[in-house]
């Protein structure tokens, strides 16, 4: 179904020179362009972070390898983790939220367009600051360079005593700066969702993507601030002679852990909840059924948001908390499995009885369901604290969280890319190349991350630049490394598809998927003002109502 957009006569000449077009992009406050900037930025860092992973895996391909020095390896895992979380997944999610939310709720833009632009550039600058450490980090005695303290930067390793030079400072400052950007975007999302829905779209009728991003934004507000506070304290310690984490002066290293994980755990929900949003939009469309249990999905998400603020010390089961404290965190961690499981069942029920079209977005989202199930179950295993006393800080937990982040989040992100690429670019992607990407990537994913659980069970700790032979870890590490190259091939197919399709893809039209939410009502790509007219919104699927006037949703909701 397509609509005409109103032709505008431009008062000024259309910019054609490269400089003029770049200038438009750099100074834009339009949510669609900022969304695309976030996404392209994240894509670049995905490749860089991936390269860091490849370097580590080559080093670990067999015991006592010499591919990189321990110093370089330690920088690699620090940068890989920090990059992937703060400069890949978060910008991807902010980018899609930016692009989609106004379109899906019938708004013209986000609530604060200039704050939006400011937030993007702060995030971007944070990433550049982090990577500048590779060239600019030299401190005293040449110690410096990229941070090598791990992405959670435990004290007192980060004190001036143990981290001389400026590498840790780059870690701190880049995250402080991008944290400001994150909070800015979160404020924008909340204000937009609460205040700018179009007529007829009550909170109970807005797409699940809007609900989930609202929850994510709330978590960002509450969770990023503790990290900011902890980092300010670390700066006070490093530069003003403070003693927040100075164990020699009676300070507490455990306090850093508490503050960090109070941020760190909700952070992973910040990463995964938008992934749930993508699944919640894509699975119904490709199953040709409404999402099963919309109100329960909303309630479960809000529950997850709240409970996620109470589980943080399950990252600290081995630091010597009392048995009472450990027991409490087992309870809260187990509890969060319930609403999360409910969501999996609801997606399953959406597919049930449907007519599933396994186009590329659905392939990725179906794989997400299987993989997220497994990731959730290995999470439950670690929630049983004594089991975690063996599994934590080993390759088992690395396998678990990559299962969530790659197998869960990245898969839905790929799905989202393919699903909304036609809307953003006006062109269809190449289906065959998309399927090639899917199969290469899923084979590589399982080779790497299924087998990665085993060295963990066999006692291999994390963050080691090499390992002894004779521990039974060798063959598994080999398989894990080989899988990485399949994933890399898949990502190359993906990038190739994006590029080829952008210029040579078939014209998509406004609604290539026969979908039901408002963004498909306008052209592909949408005009700068988004909507010339907005259809009547009486249900959660306004376009279903338009296409099925004899059987509209609002009769059943």
């Amino acid at each position: 179904m397509s609509t005409e957009s109103i032709a505008l006569t431009r008062p000024t000449a259309v910019p054609t020179s490269l400089v003029e077009r770049l200038h438009e992009w750099v100074t834009t406050v339009d949510h669609k362009r900022l969304g695309i900037l976030y996404i392209l930025y994240a894509l670049l860092f995905l490749l860089i972070g991936g390269l860091e992973a490849i370097i580590m895996r080559i080093q670990l391909i067999h015991p006592l390898n010499n591919f990189v020095s321990p110093q370089v390896f330690n920088r690699m895992f620090t940068m890989h983790g920090t990059t992937m979380i703060f400069f890949v997944i978060m910008p991807f999610m902010f980018g899609f939220a930016n692009y989609l939310i106004p379109l899906m709720i019938g708004a013209r833009d986000l609530a604060f367009p200039r704050l939006n632009a400011f937030s993007f550039w702060m995030t971007a600058f944070g990433g550049l600051l982090l990577y500048f450490s590779f060239v600019g980090g030299d401190g005293l005695y040449g110690a410096g360079n990229a941070p090598d303290v791990g992405w959670f930067a435990y004290a007192p390793l980060t004190s001036q005593t143990f981290s001389r030079g400026h590498s840790t400072d780059f870690w701190i400052l880049s995250l402080l700066v991008s944290g400001v950007g994150s909070v800015g975007t979160a404020i924008n999302i909340i204000a937009t969702v609460l205040c700018m829905r179009c007529k007829g779209m009550t909170l109970g009728k807005m797409p699940l993507l809007a609900w989930l991003n609202l929850t994510m934004a709330g978590l960002v507000i509450l969770a990023v601030s503790p990290l900011t506070a902890a980092q300010l304290m670390l700066l006070v310690d490093r530069y003003l002679g403070g003693h927040f984490f100075d164990t020699q002066a009676g300070g507490s290293a455990v306090m850093w852990m508490h503050f960090f994980w109070v941020f760190g755990h909700p952070e992973v929900y910040v990463l995964v909840i938008p992934a749930f949003a993508f699944a919640s939009e894509i699975i119904p469309v490709f199953s040709r059924k409404a999402i099963f249990g919309y109100p329960v999905m909303v309630a479960a998400t809000i529950c997850i948001g709240f409970i996620s603020m109470s589980v943080w010390a399950h990252h600290m089961f081995t630091v010597g908390m009392s048995s009472a404290a450990n027991t409490f965190f087992v309870l809260s961690t187990m509890a969060i499995a319930v609403p999360t499981g409910i969501k999996i069942f609801n997606w399953l029920a959406t597919m049930w009885g449907g007519q599933i079209h396994f186009k590329v977005p659905m392939l990725f989202c179906t794989a997400f369901l299987f993989q997220f199930l497994i990731a959730g179950l290995t999470g439950i295993m670690q929630g049983a604290a004594p089991f975690d006393w063996q599994l934590t800080a080993s390759y088992f937990v690395i396998a678990h969280f990559h299962y969530v982040i790659v197998g869960g989040i990245l898969f839905t992100l790929f799905g989202a890319f393919y699903y909304w690429f036609p809307k953003m670019s006006g062109r269809m992607y190449n289906e065959a190349l998309g399927k090639l990407h899917f199969w290469l990537f899923i084979i590589g994913f399982h080779m790497t991350f299924d087998f990665m659980h085993i060295p963990g069970i066999l006692g291999m700790p994390r963050r080691i630049y090499t390992y002894e032979p004779g521990r039974g870890w060798d063959n598994w590490n080999l398989i894990v490394t080989i899988g990485v190259f399949f994933q890399a091939a898949g990502v190359l197919a993906f990038i190739g598809n994006l590029l080829w399709s952008y210029w040579r893809g078939k014209v998509a039209g406004s609604d290539p998927w026969d979908a039901w939410t408002l963004e498909w009502f306008t052209t592909s790509p949408p005009p700068i003002y988004n909507f010339a007219e907005i259809p009547e919104v009486r249900s959660r699927r306004p376009l279903w109502d338009l296409k099925h006037p004899e059987d509209p949703d609002w009769q059943y909701e």
Binding site: N74, T318, G320, T327, A349, A384, P461, R462, R463, G472
Partner: protein, 320 residues
Amino acid sequence: MHPSFSPTNIFAPVSTPAHSIVDLSVFVLIVTAAIFVVVFSLLAYAAVKFRKRGESDGHEPTQVYGSTQVELAWTVIPTLIVVVLFLAAARVIASIQNAARPSNALEVTVIGHQFWWEYRYPSLKVVTANELHIPVSNPAHPTPTFLTLLSADTDHSFWVPRLAGKTDLIPNHPNSMWMDPQETGLYLGQCAQYCGTQHAKMLLLVYVDSREDFDRWIRQQSRPAQVAATASEGRRIFETTACVSCHTIAGTRANGTFGPDLTHLMSRQTIAAGAAKNTLGNLIAWIYNPALIKPGCEMPSMGLSTQQAAEVAEYLATLR
């Protein structure tokens, strides 16, 4: 190949805490496997059965918006499962963390350093490094070992999978753990909390000895250093270079505590916290330039010539 598939296999426990963890793990694995089988089958079934076949005829399937009963079912059942898992875990937490310390328990203080382990037996007045000896425990009359975990610098973690779950060593935050290994032998592990450049080579070697062997080891460790007269040049270099400011050799001028106690260095199978075997060649290389074996460790190269390094090594080789 090690009989248990790996010398650090968490599913090959020989000590009560490790056993309790395995028992709990098996229970959790069975429950999660059951959940996996059920949900996976449903997902696979749905993906296959409801796949669109043939051309799209424009008909949409029946729209189903929800079902309160179904939602209730898959809320209540997981909640019950979660409660069961929680109770199982809570029991094991209590049994391990709140275990009483019997009066015949051996007490060892473990102090984590970048990148080596210091062991002190306060009641037996023994100080050693990197290779821990503890007595085997008879399940009928247990003689567990209780470790007090401290740190001299950053965070570390003591992880010997076959003996117990890991516990962290955090400065200004003493922790404790216990183990009662029921089979003699050498048990391996390594530091499990990133502590800096050479975290990877902070290995753990725990020798579980029979009672007689353990007592013999204690007696040997309690003797003062034995030095053969022929190694005096090495000893002279050792005592006039800064070696003495980091290392202790009981009964000599060397009384530094930044690095491992070397009094009975030759009673150990490895050097550099397990990074290399304790051979004369390795010892010479290590003294000449530690970065050859463990680049980024805290022991500097003292600028000795290879000849001098060999002489010092010869001296250290007399320290039984």
